[in-house]
């Protein structure tokens, strides 16, 4: 065990942990965050996604000791009490069924749009392809992303 300092959603936290622990468990169990979720522990489904240095990162396979830079979770997307446009689009499109995977969908979409604000349909499919939904809300997710990208849907 050792002290590790993480910057999450604009705040610094120091935790006494085994630094090899995947970031997901530290975020959920030590910092009490609920956005990133355990889905597979294998980096395959995306439910655990957080954003680090602008990239969508699978926190379930990311050793905490390897993290450099600010971590943003779903809870950190809203600014000054105003939802991020993607979150608002998710509400406007009524995207979720159960909603368990939607953390990963929203965070992956954010990293994608930050890099490429006006993706083509094919770029959206490619960019989101590794983020799974077992309620199969893909069609509505893509509609919500297009809405944020300023596209007619």
């Amino acid at each position: 065990m050792s002290n590790v300092t993480l910057r999450v959603n604009g705040r610094a936290h120091t935790v006494d942990i085994d630094p090899a622990t995947p970031l997901l468990y530290i975020l959920r169990n030590d910092l009490g965050l609920q956005g990133p979720r355990f889905g597979c522990g294998l980096g395959q489904c995306g439910a655990c996604t957080v954003i680090i240095n602008g990239a969508a990162v699978r926190s379930c396979i990311t050793p905490t000791s390897s993290v450099r830079g600010e971590i943003t979770t779903l809870e950190g997307l809203a600014k000054d009490g105003k939802l991020h446009p993607l979150q608002q689009a998710w509400i406007d499109e009524q995207v979720p069924q159960c909603g368990f995977c939607q953390n990963g969908q929203i965070m992956t979409a954010k990293a994608m749009l930050d890099r490429n604000p006006h993706p083509t349909d094919e770029q959206i499919r490619q960019g989101m392809s590794g983020t799974l939904c077992r309620c199969m809300t893909y069609y509505r997710i893509q509609a919500a992303i297009k809405r944020v990208a300023g596209r007619n849907v």
Partner: protein, 773 residues
């Protein structure tokens, strides 16, 4: 004041909980920590068990359902608000927690709106009636002289005289008994409103649960933390039927945070202080397992189908035998015969099974996403040898498995370990465990024959289906959940399971069905145990039956839609005015939306390059809901990849409560059907399930989402002389025909008939190559 006190004390004021406040898991959890003493069963024969009116004229509805992600809570609020004459925004809904909500069984069978919506509407209507009576007494005006809107009652003759629901009863009990032989029949004196008077039903308020699901504030069952809680992970047998000989606890004893190895029979779990420690310890624990003398499973799906065809069935359902099938075949102008196969498919929720059990106060509280929380309460109590009044289940949102949590293994396991340790225990299954050991949708084989006369009319259908469904898992039964099986418990008589024939509405004069269930050699402690997966046998049997109808249409050189319509219009029985007429309306609506041009398959204009296009239709009845789906596919003849580019869904589930929420439910179920058509299959060898992650049990991804989904809600009975249709179910219906629609579209595009699910690109390419497409 906590809810349970309200339920047992009368006439007391309760602290006003405004509808805007967070009423949900947070409040319930606070309630839980304060709770002492036995957990009551809210009496469904008391109005107070269903509805509380607060002093600010808001209302809380307590219902005995759970939401599988379709937003049923929003629809319950719409129905109850409408009957109560209160604004939707001034209500909240609490679901599924066993000691504060009546037992409506949780969710399942797409019956939330169809069945459970009725007592909800009736009790809300009764509350409105009682409030009007109270106002009548207050003003000395007969009820007929009062008007009510948005929880305000007004004297019609003197509109200056008004009183609110809150002023009449806010925070106090109704003390009004209800009647009805069972909870579904619960009723007061009041009658529900006719459809024409419903104002909130039919609107599409946004689902109340969604904002907290997209901003990270919702507390799910996975998020609950209690002081002193520890983390548990299971260690499963390495091969099916293995016996535990010994455990070398020293292999993990010195790991950081190690608490205990818990084991009984072939059940093994490791408990540690921290989650990552439990994961590591479960991987490192050395167990000595004895493999069975001979392998216990068929050799993959190939071996399974061979076994299913050759073994003697364990059970069968009453066969249908109408007309003279053999005679019709003897006189047929043309006879078609085909066999179909559907493998085991997993539930595979996006989040594996989980629960937190708290043994405080000698009782047991389970925080769970179990869709049947009431059944879990009873099952766990029996399993642990506790009184049921000592056990309660707090239902919270969770990842949906569409039937997986009907027998919630993790809840039983958490409760067992918590009782052993005397500490709160969080059980979490891992992905490989969920993929390998969750319940499976049953595999099927089919053998179907059909006869055509010289005019191309179908004169006979001879349908035989076998499912691998013997010992089908029951709902939260204390002797059939996996931990009980691993403990060594056995039923003398395993559940019979079921096979299926999907649709008897086509007018075919001579019909025979044979519905059989086979058992696999290993019936207990098997990773191939079956459970209810969204519309349990429907997608399989509809795939076979509706593929076969397509084959008959091709043989008759008929358009597949017109071939179906002809058989639906031919009927003259009682059904023809209702079920068949609605079926025709739904098929026609879907065809019109799609722009269906009548022609026989395959598509003469399929394309000449790598991409071949085609369309396929399939139709089904589920309970009282009728559905038609049209798939338009692109098949890449170089790679075998199938893309459902467009899906059109005609859907009639009677009175629609929330059209936008229904649209999304249908979207999801349709894509779920595409996933099962194109990808899903449980892989296994003779020893174990080989599907252990999302590579080895693939699922639909964003790459496969249709470019367009059109949903046509066909709400209505074509007979204007019949009363308005009631609300039917919708959670599973759109799951039913989609596999068949995709298969029929692939045939239309390629001329190749795929009779084995799933249609992964390797299988499609092999079939195209064999047919030289």
């Amino acid at each position: 004041m906590i809810r349970r006190e309200f339920l047992k004390t009368s006439g007391m004021l309760i602290v006003g909980v405004s509808a805007g406040a967070i009423v949900g898991p947070f409040a319930v959890e606070a309630d839980a920590q304060a709770a002492r003493g036995l957990y009551p069963d809210p009496d469904f024969h008391q109005l107070d068990s269903w509805i509380v009116i607060h002093q600010d004229s808001t209302a809380t509805f307590y219902v005995g359902k759970t939401d599988c992600g379709q937003g049923t809570g929003t629809s319950f609020r719409q129905m109850m608000s409408d009957e109560l004459d209160i604004a939707y925004k001034d209500t909240t809904c609490i679901m599924g927690t066993t000691d504060i909500t009546v037992d409506q069984g949780g969710s399942g069978g797409s019956d939330a709106i169809q069945t459970d919506g009725w007592p909800m509407r009736r009790v809300a209507a009764e509350a409105r009636r009682v409030l009007l009576e109270m106002a009548s007494t207050r003003f000395g005006v007969p009820v007929a002289g009062l008007a009510v809107s948005n929880a305000i009652i007004t004297v019609k003759a003197d509109p200056s005289k008004t009183i609110t629901y809150g002023e009449l009863i806010g925070g106090k009990r109704f003390n009004v008994p209800l009647t009805g032989a069972n909870i579904d029949a619960t009723t007061g004196v009041a009658k529900v409103k006719p459809v024409q008077e419903l104002k909130i039903v039919g609107l599409s308020p946004q689902r109340y649960d969604i904002p907290a699901k997209v901003d990270g504030s919702l507390k799910w069952a996975v998020d609950v933390k209690l002081p002193g809680m520890v983390h548990a992970r299971n260690v499963k047998p390495p091969v099916a039927g293995a016996k535990l000989v010994s455990i070398d606890e020293s292999s993990v004893r010195n790991l950081p945070g190690f608490v205990r190895v818990v084991s009984k029979g072939n059940y093994v779990a490791v408990v540690c202080e921290r989650e990552e420690q439990a994961i590591a310890a479960a991987k490192q624990l050395k167990c000595n397992w004895q493999k069975p003398a001979t392998p216990q499973l068929p050799d993959g799906s190939d071996g399974l189908f061979k076994y299913m065809r050759s073994t003697t069935p364990k059970s069968s359902q009453t066969p249908i035998n109408i007309g003279n099938v053999d005679g019709a075949f003897a006189n047929a102008a043309k006879m078609i015969e085909a066999e179909y196969e559907v493998p085991f498919q997993g539930h595979n929720a996006i989040g594996p099974g989980h629960a937190l059990a708290d043994p405080s106060n000698g009782q047991m509280t389970i925080y769970s996403n179990d869709m049947k929380s009431y059944g879990m309460r009873n099952g766990v109590a029996q399993f642990l040898g506790m009184q049921r009044e000592q056990v309660r289940v707090i239902w919270m949102e969770g990842p949906q498995g569409y039937g997986r949590t009907a027998a919630d293994d993790a809840g039983f396991e958490a409760a067992y370990i918590a009782k052993e340790l005397g500490r709160p225990v969080r059980m979490q299954w891992m992905r490989d465990e969920e993929q390998a050991w969750d319940t499976k949708g049953p595999a099927f084989t089919f053998k179907i024959r059909g006869a055509l006369d010289a005019q191309g009319h179908m004169t006979a259908l001879d349908y035989a289906a076998r499912s691998a469904d013997y010992n089908h898992l029951g709902y939260n039964e204390p002797d059939t959940v996996l931990i009980a099986q691993l403990f060594g418990q056995r039923r003398d008589k395993p559940a019979a399971g079921s096979s299926a024939f999907p649709n008897d509405l086509y007018e075919i004069p001579n019909r025979r069905t044979l519905l059989e269930v086979v058992g696999l050699p290993l019936l207990w402690e098997t990773p191939l145990r079956t459970g209810n997966l969204r519309d349990p046998n429907g997608p399989q049997s509809t795939f076979a039956a509706e593929s076969f109808i397509d084959e008959m249409a091709f043989a008759a050189k008929a358009d597949p839609l017109e071939f179906r319509l002809r058989m639906l219009m031919a009927g003259t029985g009682e059904d023809s005015g209702f079920k068949r007429a609605r079926s025709i309306a739904v098929l026609k609506a879907a065809a019109e939306k799609y722009g269906w041009q009548p022609r026989p398959g395959p598509n003469p204009n399929r394309g000449s390059g790598d991409i071949l296009t085609g369309r396929g239709v399939a139709y089904a009845f589920r309970n009282q809901t009728v559905i038609a789906q049209i798939a338009e596919v692109e098949v890449n003849r170089k790679t075998g990849r199938v893309w459902v580019k467009r899906a059109v869904v005609g859907h009639d589930c009677g009175l629609v409560i929330n059209p936008e929420a229904l649209h999304r439910t249908i979207d999801g179920a349709t894509q779920h059907g595409i996933s099962r058509a194109l990808y899903e299959e449980v892989a296994f060898d003779t020893e174990k399930v080989l599907s252990r992650d999302w590579v080895t049990h693939p699922t639909l991804t964003h790459m496969d989402a249709p470019a367009r989904i059109d949903v046509v809600l066909v709400n209505g009975d074509p007979n204007p002389n019949r009363p308005d249709l009631p609300h039917y179910g919708a959670g599973e219906a759109a799951m039913k025909p989609m596999i068949a629609a995709v298969a029929n579209a692939i045939f239309d595009a390629t001329g190749v008939r795929l009779r084995r699910v799933p249609f992964r690109k390797e299988r499609v390419l092999a079939a195209l190559n064999a047919a030289k497409v």
